[in-house]
Every structure is written in structure tokens, then in C-alpha cells.
Subunit: 592 residues, 2 copies
């Protein structure tokens, strides 16, 4: 069972985003196309042999809390260790840190394969990478030496411990408190954390929480939040560190990864280590969260991809009905992929997942460029990446709920049963618009922050890129009509921006009231741009002697689909965004 | 926990659709407003006391196949019997048939309450009603006497047995065969049926299948399909009738109702009774299916309603964040219902479910009028109902997948956990675009059949109704701008129809290729019309001395929401529908 298309992934990496460019930078200069291929082959092997076979099992045997400890699927121990041994957890880190200086783009592409095979299983090592990254960048030498080696090896699990019962979207309301101790510079931590992914389990020997807490007497709000390392077991003596697993959340999907409710320091016995400076915790966390957000977009895209391929293979095999022009019941039935409406549902999925993957790997490449570039270039890439982050998180997250739904629909009744993995994908996709910032939060981030930054500089950079892509596409006669279409919708988008921005200074409530729709509109535009880029390359290849005509024709046709069925939605969205009627602002809670 | 709004239901029944009008017809003349109230109160009591308490339990303890028999939740036996004893199963049937001549509108409204409380539990008795109805209308006196009394009492379960492994959407490919026997006019049935809801279970003493089969040597295709009554146990001696439960389907949602795979006559021992005439089975079934289709729309709407109320109550209680103008972290957090984006998600849900309920009860009233009216009036109501049926089935089905998703999103992480029933509603909503004809099938039914009937007469009747509603709304100054908006989108819709229809005769494949989008567009228009009607009444009430200002303001505001955020989508849909680019037709399966 194919859960992704290697051909398509390679198209994005090597034809669309030309990531071999990265090799020219000294940091990546030991790599070559062949090492990238080897990495991706290795990823496919783990995904195929170790992860995909557990997909259904892990869903049906969800983690359980027993005697204060969370038990997960026994197969997870082997998978995590393999990730450690093969060097995945610190693959992108420098040689000095034991890493391989792998471009983030290749790392994300590998992640995509893992996630498409088994999203729950992929969560464990990725969380460890993120947590270790925080220690690596902001922690002291002692902290690094104490914690990161066992995290890199997969022996210990890392987590991000942010959310509390009264502080979800509103992180400024964090209550967990850190008390300095006189003897050794450590802190005593007290509080509770909820929804902590992999917050406790028995597939690793220790759990290392990267935890936000407020040092006693710190300023209120976001300015008084610090970052701590809080292990479940103390490193010195392996004794419990007073981090109690109070509960486990059962959930609709991605059941294979445990989500814990933790009580911290209930017996005054929890030791934590400050990372970096006091009160800078949130800014540290946000630097990682931006990467995590692009990562969530990738998760969603990967799940959508697996669902697409499952539904595509069903559509090719399932005979049902006949062409409308040939209703004779004595004729054999045709595979449902021949029906226009089934093709529409498949094209919808393909346009969402391949459009998303294109954007996500573009963002990954930007992050590599930010890493290796200098000066203005570095700054520009950074601004562009920041602007695109809420879109790269939210478009795939929202749209893969719909694309997995289309996958269910392709199968009809069969799609609703547990005989196929598609209903699981549908359930798993639904988490992504929620975690790492809800779609609503990202709408406000985009319109209320990213668009306004440096007088709209990031936006100008994005527009420049889009206009460049349009110019390149215009050189191909068969694409001209579509370039005009994109130009028109780009104009429409700019009209919306020009109408909205003057309101920013005045009434923020009103200015941001439809930020979610603005995010949706920008997502549709940006993915349209990614499709035009893909189609441009495909059209060029088709002009040459390329033998893979089917693959490239598919790209062109899917671009057509996207423009005809998806891009047009900017029309309605902009109608709403240009309207002066403040429906949600004026609605009163008593009227519901 | 409120799972529906009685106030809103009464608004639709008595203010919006004025169903007391029905009492003037002799068939309903024994009823009065008070008896309707009593019926609805009784429905609420069962829903609240017997059904809602089992909602979660039935989801977590799904039916199991043990030793060839399906075991369901033990509470179902009591619920089904109560439905029988209280006369729900045959409530709409005539006095002569032991029924109460209850208007279908009141029966559907009661069904809405049951479905909102516990969709799975509501399925059992509703299926029995549908099956009994087929025997009642098309069966012989003997069949009626033999089967219906025990179905009405809830002792026996009724089913609709249509789908087969090779015949889902394509019913013309049914293979189950009926062989006439010489001795008593019965038939021997052989074949298999899949996805049979309540096809076997232990909460009733017998299962009565209304089964489609092909009499041996009957014409191929839909013209050779007959309808049979096939009991699980023979009535004469209570011995097994060779209907074997081969399997049970486990599924994503509505787990409380079992779905069976049945082997019929594997040992040549299955007796069936022909209903009505040979080869007319599909037309009989379709008469019932039209009602069932509106019923599916109601199911979806009811689930969406329960999710809306659960998310509304959470939004009123959950404090998180602050007004954007008051970010001071020392201020207390505000309930999330104060945030514009949360209000948007609630308004979206409200607009979908109350708009749908309005349409569904309108359809139910039409079916009552078809029943009691005569001549041209009867025909017109019938045509209008036929035209609206695919919309009444599909708009709620598709949109309540999205509205339950919005309910999940209102709760954020909590919505994804099993701590709240909302994730269950999300899973249960997803079946409705599939069963009783997929959305794609209904799109083709609307554009390829209903719109074309009698030279578009049904469409003209609908337009007349919409224009009348617009005229009534124009009398209210505050609604004038919205009436113009609806007129414009109506014009746009007509433009699409005028562009599409000339293609009907030529290339059906191309003509119907975007039928699903056409259905979507028509759904948005029709629900917009229902909202204008609701707002007109609300505005009238607000002009008077009415004390329920909050309720009516909510209606006006939700209409505003619908027009500003939903109706505008006709813009993009019509752009696509007017385009000449045949993307899905031109796409080849090799290109995926």
C-alpha cells in the first residue's frame, strides 16, 4: 500500500525547489544529491517496515494510564531507539553536536515520509528533536551535556510543556511557578500542565520536559515567563522528580501518542533547571514553535497524502456504475476513477496535498537559507518565512480535514468503516487546526503581526516572489491564461489588504475580526502560486524529451483544477473581507 | 445538557411554517396545537430520559457479532419497545391502520429531538417505520396482517436491504435473485446484502428485511428489480429463514447501531414474499427513499444541533484570553464567547443548523400537503418537494460535517478529547453525505433529473416561492439591503442554469460533471431563502411588543451572518460553473 509518492516528493525537492543549491554553502558542502537520496531511502525503509505496519494497531490499542504510568504500544520502544541509532533526532545539528548538518529540507522531507506512514509514531522522536533543540540553542554547556546525549540516542523522550488548565491559547496566563533554591541554582517547580504530548510513557527511560513557568515575583503576562528543563527522573540518581502523571486524555485520533495531564511538584520535590535567561522563556519557545508550526502543516499534509493514495488506489480498483453515455446494464461496470465526480474528489485532494507539500518544502528551504545566509539576504528569507509560517501551518491543517473527508467520500460506505485506514486519517487530520496555535490564533498572527511587520516588508517580498513566478510562467503559452487569473486574484487580494490595513491602528477588535478568513484567502493565493510554479516546471519538461509525460500532465491538470475550483474562492472571501458589516463584532452572546 | 433548542423548534413549526394550517384539512382535523405540544413534550421526555443518557455508552460499547448473532447495547430493547408502545412507529399512519394521523411535520420534529439526543438509538425505530410503510402502501392485505402489527409494536425490527458488494451507488447491478416456488406463491431468495443498518440484533425478536432482488429471468438493470419481505425468522413457526449474519461492520461513528453483512439463502432455505408487482421494486423503494433522504438531512441537522449547543455552552463558560483592547494580564480572562472568531464559529453553526431545520420542516410540511391536497395543488407541492429533496438531504449532510468541526474548534484541544461528546458528533456527522445516496448522486439527481422535469416546472415553482419571500421581506426597511443581495445571487444562479441547461441534451457527461457544485450552489441559495423568511418573521415580532427580543435579534443577526459569509459563496461557485474548462472530464486516470 503506497502511503506517499516518492516521485512527487523528489519533484518538489529537486525540480521544484532545487535543493541541490544548498550544497554550495559550506555548512552543507559535505552533502550531495546521492547522500540526500540515501537519507530519503533510509526514511522510507523505516516508514515502510517499522511504522506503517503499526498504524492500525496503535489506533486500536491506545495508551493507558496504569498505576500512575502511561503504557504505550510495545513497538514504540524499538522505533524510537532506531530513530536515535540512525541519527534522525539530531540529524540537522552541527558535526560538533554529533549531528550530520543535514539540510532541514531533507529532514522535513524524511519527516513527511514518517508521518504519512504513521503519524502517532512520528510524534515521539520529533518532539525530542524540538526539546533538545531548545537546550542546544539556549541552554548552558552543563545542561547540554546533562540532557542532550540521551535525547539524541532516543533513550530519553523530550516534550514541550506549555498548556495549563487556564492557559491554552492565552499563554500569558500561565500559573506554574518556579522558586529559586539557595543551594545550587536550581528551581523548585510547582503547578500543572495539560495536553502534554508524550508527557509520560514507558518506551523511553526518562521524560525531559521543556517547561514554561513563572519565576516567583516575575512580571505578569508574557514578560514573566521562563523556560525550564524538568526531567521526570533526576539525572544524578534516577529518582522520581515529583512529576506526577495525573491523567491521560483519550481522543478522537492520533491515539498512538499519549497526551498527559501532569502535576508538578505536588510534594515540593520537583527540581527544574533554568534555560538561558529568566523571563525570556516565551521568546525562546516561539523560535522553536515557528519550526514546530511548519512541522504541523507537514503532519497534516502527510496524513492527507496517505489518505489520497489510499483513495486513489481504491478508485482505480473499484468497479461501480457506467459512463452516463453507456447505461446499458449488460456492459461491465467501470472503475470509479472514470467518473467525473470521483476525479474531482481526487483532484481536490491532489491539489491540496501537493500544493501544501510544495509550500512546506519551500519554507523548509527558507529555513536552511536563513541558517546559512548572511546580512540582508538572511533577513529577507527570515521575514518571508515568518510571514508564510501561519499559512504553512494552517492551510494544510484546515484543508487536509477536507481532503481526508474527500478520501472517505471516494470510498463511500467503505470509507466510513474500519476496513480501510481512511477513517483513521480523517480522525487524525482533525487535530492539526487545533494544536501549535489554533487557526484563529494564526489568523491574528498573520494579519495582526506578520503583515504589519516593518511596514509590510515581508508582504512585499512575497509579492515579488509571486510576480517573478508569474513572469516565468508567462513564457509558456499554454499557461498564459492561468497567469492572468492569478494576477487578477492577486490584485483582488491586494485590494483587501489595502482596505484592511488602514484600520489596524484604530480598532484592533474590528480589524482582526475576520483574520481567520484573511488567512484562508492568503492560503489559497499562496498555494495557487505554488501550483503555478509546479506547472511551469512541468510544462518545460513536457516540451523536452521527458519520458514521464503522465506525471507532468498530472501536474498541469491539477494546476488547472486548483485554479478553476479553488483559486476562485478568493472571489467570495474577498467579497466578505471588503464588506463593512461587522457581524461578529455586533453579535451579542445573549442572542445565541 | 441542552442538545437542542425547543424555542427554535417551536419557532420553525408555529411561527415560520405555521403548521397549525394543517388542522384545517379533514385528515388532521382531530389535532390541535395542544396535541402537537403534547407529542413534542413526550418526544423530549424519551430523548432526555432514555436516549441521551446512553449516547456515550453506546459509542464506547459498540455492537459485536457473537456466534452468528449481533449483540447491541442492552438499553436498546427498552427504547424500541417504548417507541412501539407510545405509538411512534406508526404515528403518521391512518386511524384504520392503528396510527394517529399525526402530520409528518410533527413526526419529523419529534425525530429531530430523538436524533439530537442519540442518533444511533433513533435509527432502529425509524428504519422500522420506513420498512412498515413499504408493506403498508404496496403490500397485500395478507402481508400487512402478517408483518406490520409486530413492527408497529416494536417487537420486530424493519430494515431496508438494498446494497450488495457490487451494487452500491449502481443499484441496477443488483444480483440477489428470487426464484418463484410452485406451492404457495412465495419466492426462494439467494444472494448477499452489505451495509444493512440494524440488519441483525438482539433487541427485537425478529428482523423484517424489505429487500430488493431480481426475479430469475427478469430484465437487466433497474427494470427487473422487485421488492420482497424477507424475515429473519419465519412467522409461521419462528424457525430461521436462512438469513445468515456473515459479518458486522465496525465504523467511525454511529457505532450504537449495527451494520450487517447478510448471506441470503446459502442453504436454499430463504423464503421471501413479493411486495406489490414484480419488477416495480425500485420505484416502490424510491418513493420511500425520498422520505428517507429528507430524514437523513434531519439526522445530520440534529447531530449538528447537538454539537452546536454543546459548544455554545462551553463558550459561555470557558474563560480564556482578553479583549484585544484590554490585554492587561492582571484583568480576569473573559469567556471565549466574547471573542469575534468564536462568535463567528458559533454563528456559522447556528446558520447551518437553523437554516437546515427550516428547510427540512418546510419539506415535511410539503409532504403533508401532498398527502391531503388534491389536483394541481397536490402536484405542485409534490414537484417542489421532489426538487428540494436532494438539497434537503445534501446541504445538512455536507454542512453538518463542517459545523460539527466548528464545534470541535470552539473547544480547542478539549474538543478533540473524549471528555466531551463533540468529537463523537463529528464522527457521526460524517456518514450522512454517504448513505441514502452520496452527495455526488444527489447532484446528478438535482441537475440531471429534477431541474429538467416537466420543462423546469419545479424550478419555476421554487423561484416563485423565493420571489414571494423576497417581496414580503422588502416591506421591512431593515431587510431591504439583504433582499437585494438575495435577488442578485438568485440572478446569478439563474444565469448558471441558463448556461447549463442547453447542454443537457448533448453531452450528459460534460453537463453533469460539476453537478455536485451545482447542488452546493443551490443549497446555499435555498438556505439563504429560508434565512430571509426567518428574519422577516423575527423583524415583524421585534416591531411588536414581543418580549423575546434576544431570540429574534439572534435570528436577524444570524441571517446577516449567513448572507455575509455563506451566501457570497455563490459568487465563486458560479464562476466555476460558468467556466467552459472541463477539468475533470479531461483528466485521465494515468495522470494521477
Amino acid at each position: 500500500m503506497a502511503f506517499y509518492s516518492k516521485r512527487d516528493l523528489y519533484f518538489h525537492l529537486f525540480e521544484n525547489h532545487k535543493i541541490e543549491d544548498l550544497i554550495s554553502y559550506p555548512y552543507f558542502s559535505d552533502h550531495q544529491r546521492e547522500t540526500f537520496d540515501l537519507v530519503l531511502d533510509a526514511a522510507e525503509k523505516i516508514a515502510q517496515n517499522s511504522m506503517y505496519p503499526l498504524l492500525t494497531e496503535m489506533d486500536r490499542n491506545e495508551p493507558q494510564l496504569e498505576n500512575g504510568k502511561i503504557k504505550v504500544h510495545p513497538g514504540m520502544r524499538k522505533i524510537i531507539r532506531q530513530f536515535g541509532e540512525d541519527g534522525w533526532i539530531n540529524a540537522t545539528f552541527s558535526y560538533e553536536e554529533g549531528g550530520q548538518q543535514l539540510p532541514n529540507t531533507v529532514y522535513q522531507a524524511s519527516g513527511f515520509i514518517f508521518q504519512a506512514a504513521n503519524y502517532s509514531a512520528s510524534v515521539y522522536p520529533f518532539l525530542t528533536t524540538g526539546a533538545a533543540n531548545l537546550i542546544r540553542i539556549f541552554g548552558s554547556k552543563e545542561l547540554k551535556e546533562k540532557f542532550t546525549p540521551n535525547m539524541y540516542s532516543g533513550k530519553w523522550q523530550g516534550t514541550m510543556a506549555l498548556t495549563e488548565p487556564d492557559a491554552g491559547s492565552s499563554l500569558s496566563d500561565l500559573q506554574t511557578t518556579a522558586y529559586p533554591t539557595s543551594h545550587d541554582g536550581t528551581f523548585k517547580i510547582k503547578g500543572q500542565k495539560i495536553y502534554i504530548s508524550c508527557g509520560d510513557h514507558d518506551a523511553c527511560e526518562n521524560i525531559i520536559h521543556l517547561m514554561l513557568a513563572r519565576i516567583v515575583d516575575a512580571p505578569a503576562g508574557t514578560k514573566g515567563i521562563s523556560l525550564f528543563v524538568v526531567p521526570k527522573y533526576r539525572v544524578a540518581d534516577n529518582q522520581p522528580n515529583d512529576v506526577l502523571t495525573q491523567g491521560i486524555y483519550h481522543k478522537m485520533g492520533y491515539k498512538g501518542a499519549p497526551i498527559a495531564h501532569l502535576m508538578i511538584g505536588s510534594d515540593d520535590g520537583c527540581e527544574g533547571y533554568l534555560v538561558g535567561e529568566a523571563n525570556k522563556g516565551l521568546s525562546y519557545m516561539f523560535q522553536m514553535m515557528n519550526e514546530a508550526r511548519v512541522g504541523v502543516g507537514m503532519n497534516a499534509c502527510a496524513i492527507g497524502t496517505a489518505a489520497y493514495h489510499a483513495s486513489l488506489s481504491y478508485a482505480n480498483e473499484r468497479p461501480q456504475g457506467r459512463k452516463l453515455s453507456q447505461k446499458d446494464p449488460s456492459l461491465p461496470q467501470i472503475p470509479i476513477i472514470e467518473h467525473a465526480d470521483v476525479k474531482r474528489m481526487l483532484l481536490f485532494q491532489k491539489s491540496v496535498i501537493e500544493g501544501s507539500l510544495s509550500l512546506l518544502l519551500y519554507c523548509a528551504k527558507l529555513s536552511d537559507l536563513v541558517h546559512v545566509e548572511k546580512g540582508d539576504q538572511k533577513e529577507d528569507f527570515g521575514l518571508l518565512l515568518d510571514l508564510l509560517t501561519p499559512i504553512a501551518k494552517s492551510y494544510p491543517s484546515e484543508m487536509c480535514c477536507l481532503s481526508t473527508s474527500a478520501a472517505v467520500q471516494v470510498l463511500g460506505g467503505a470509507g466510513y468503516t474500519t476496513d480501510f485506514p481512511i477513517e483513521q486519517y480523517y480522525r487524525e487530520a482533525r487535530i492539526h487546526p487545533i494544536h501549535e496555535g489554533t487557526t484563529g490564533i494564526h489568523g491574528m498572527d498573520l494579519l495582526g503581526r506578520k503583515v504589519l511587520t516593518q511596514n509590510g516588508k515581508a508582504l512585499k517580498l512575497l509579492l515579488r516572489e509571486i510576480i517573478e513566478s508569474i513572469a516565468a510562467a508567462k513564457a509558456i503559452p499554454s499557461l498564459v491564461s492561468k497567469t492572468i487569473m492569478l494576477e487578477n486574484y492577486l490584485k483582488r487580494t491586494q485590494e483587501v489588504i489595502d482596505t484592511l490595513l488602514p484600520k489596524a491602528g484604530k480598532d484592533m477588535e474590528a480589524f482582526l475580526s475576520d483574520a481567520t478568513l484573511f488567512l484562508e484567502m492568503m492560503g489559497i493565493l499562496v498555494i495557487g502560486w505554488q501550483w503555478l510554479k509546479q506547472a511551469t516546471i512541468a510544462a518545460q519538461k513536457l516540451q523536452s524529451e521527458d519520458l514521464e509525460k503522465d506525471f507532468y500532465q498530472g501536474k498541469i491538470m491539477c494546476m488547472n483544477y486548483y485554479f478553476e475550483y479553488e483559486l476562485v474562492k478568493i472571489g467570495s472571501l474577498s467579497t466578505r473581507l471588503l464588506s463593512e458589516e461587522k457581524v461578529t463584532i455586533n453579535m451579542k452572546k445573549e442572542w445565541f
